[in-house]
Symmetry: none
Subunit: 284 residues, 2 copies
DNA sequence: AAAATATTGAAATGTCGTTTCAAACGGAAT
DNA sequence: ATTCCGTTTGAAACGACATTTCAATATTTT
């Protein structure tokens, strides 16, 4: 059908004359070039001519360059590899995308494996029973907090997500026993989050944490601990990419679980929310 | 890069004019044809013209027939994928997790397939060259905007992410030609975003959009269009789960690409940022 | 009904894959 | 070494086919 182009080239490599071999090697190193370049381009890139490219196609037993293109396209749809891979300088767009995809998927898979179902269930019930949920995170985790708040508001569960430590401290000082403080910190060592969690614990308010897997100050302060997978982050990724996806993923699960637990209620809320938004937008 | 052509066609099918739709249906029925036929051939087989085939490619956001060929070739090798699965009432925690995982991964995979590398490259260069980047989104997309802003600030690229339409309007009214407005809207029809994009266009400010795949007001207002995969969203998911993951994923790719383009600079910035944060935290 | 807009395919155009061919090369025979 | 013969090579000519243009037609709007 439509693949095996690379394998063909590999098998043929030794039997090829110099000019064609140059092309072949170029393609093996950088297969997606074939998809975006013209025959002449490739010829030049391999320090030979376009004619050699065509001859290579013929040598492989293909009908022409279009044929090769199609087969290589097929080869490139390989299942994404496992494991985290860091991005190097001077990397091609194609390869950045491949690696980001693979890393993103990996972090979700890994986080799935980390899930402790008993803990998850307790979290869902605690949140469902709560009067108010106070999400708190700083920086990238602050954004996750905002997102979580939005979700809960949609199913008419009161939620806050401020980033001002003092403000949140006041909030917790006045919180009821039915409130829940939800601390988010990838490292688990963000000092602001630690302070807030400590305060909540002192006040006897229930606490939930979301951190990377492992022992951390924030997690140890929490009644219920939720985790995302930890992956040794290299310089680039430390600007928080996959970790955030995983945090969102866990939040999704929490939200969907809560929603499922009270399906009917939720459906109605979402409908009401939609109506409210439509009302504001269209004034009718 | 090499797949998703069929999905693109499926998503676009309804928005296509008659002649293009005939082509689209022919391809969906018999994708293999695309690989062995010329544009004219296909035109005739679908009882229309070759020009319509090219128009279809353009309508799909592709650069031409070659692009379509390559993407369909990719689709044909791929094992049939499992689609999105909605969450039912009374579902077990385990099964909610399974479905969320599978949906999350699917939306990332699908979004990868939608990527137009030339458009991506243009986006990266435009952003890299920009003096200021103004992200704008409402609701869940507003959070993506905030996240993107944080990321750019980390590599000392000026960025804003306000949700107040009037404020942003003022900002754009005073923007320079070196600024970029980045509109985020899953549906592509959020009125506030449309207004801001229109304003930017009038003012001659460059625009980039991030929407679900397909024709939409926001996308058509943008100089550079980026897409996440579209999936018919069921009630629960419409509370925006997978779509947001996909948006973040695309943003990650943009960020990592920008970072790679200017590796040295970035490394320094990230280090400086770390130091700045440490300074604030520990006062030393 | 008229005007404006969108859609359509035939023909013109231009890009790019493919073929041709003369020159260069390499090895074997003289 | 020199000549001969088969192979390899890239520049340029060629031709196929993707793409654009445009005038005609259909569709929607006013």
């Amino acid at each position: 059908m439509a693949a095996g182009g690379l394998k063909m080239i590999q098998n043929m490599l030794e039997q090829l004359p110099a000019s064609e071999r140059k092309i072949a090697e170029l393609i093996l190193e950088n297969p997606q070039t074939v998809l975006n370049s013209t025959v002449q381009d490739i010829g030049v890139q391999a320090h030979t001519s376009g004619a050699a490219v065509i001859r290579l196609c013929k040598s492989l037993g293909l009908n022409g360059f279009q044929d090769l293109k199609v087969r290589i396209a097929g080869d490139l749809v390989k299942p994404v590899e496992q494991g985290y891979r860091d991005i190097e300088p001077g990397e091609s767009f194609f390869s950045i995308v491949q690696k980001t995809t693979s890393n993103s998927i990996q972090s979700i898979r890994d986080s799935e494996e980390m899930i402790n179902y008993e803990e998850l269930e307790r979290a869902v019930h605690t949140l469902s029973a709560a009067q108010n949920v106070h999400f708190f995170g700083i920086g990238a985790s602050g954004i996750i907090a905002k997102d979580a708040q939005q979700k809960l508001l949609r199913i008419h569960k009161n939620a806050t997500a401020f980033t001002d430590t003092h403000l949140v401290a006041t909030l917790i000082a006045n919180a009821s026993q039915e409130d829940v403080v939800f601390g988010i910190s990838h490292s688990g060592e963000t000092s602001e989050v630690i302070k807030i969690m400590t305060l909540a614990k002192e006040r006897g308010v229930k606490t939930i944490s979301l951190t990377k897997y492992g022992q951390s100050s924030v997690a140890s302060l929490a009644d219920i601990k939720l985790f995302t997978s930890y992956s040794g982050e290299a310089p680039f990724r430390s600007a928080a990419t996959s970790s955030r996806l995983a945090q969102l993923y866990i939040m999704d699960i929490l939200f969907l679980s809560m929603a499922t637990v009270q399906y009917e209620d939720t459906i109605n809320s979402i409908d009401k929310t939609r109506e409210a938004i439509r009302f504001i937008k269209e004034g009718k």
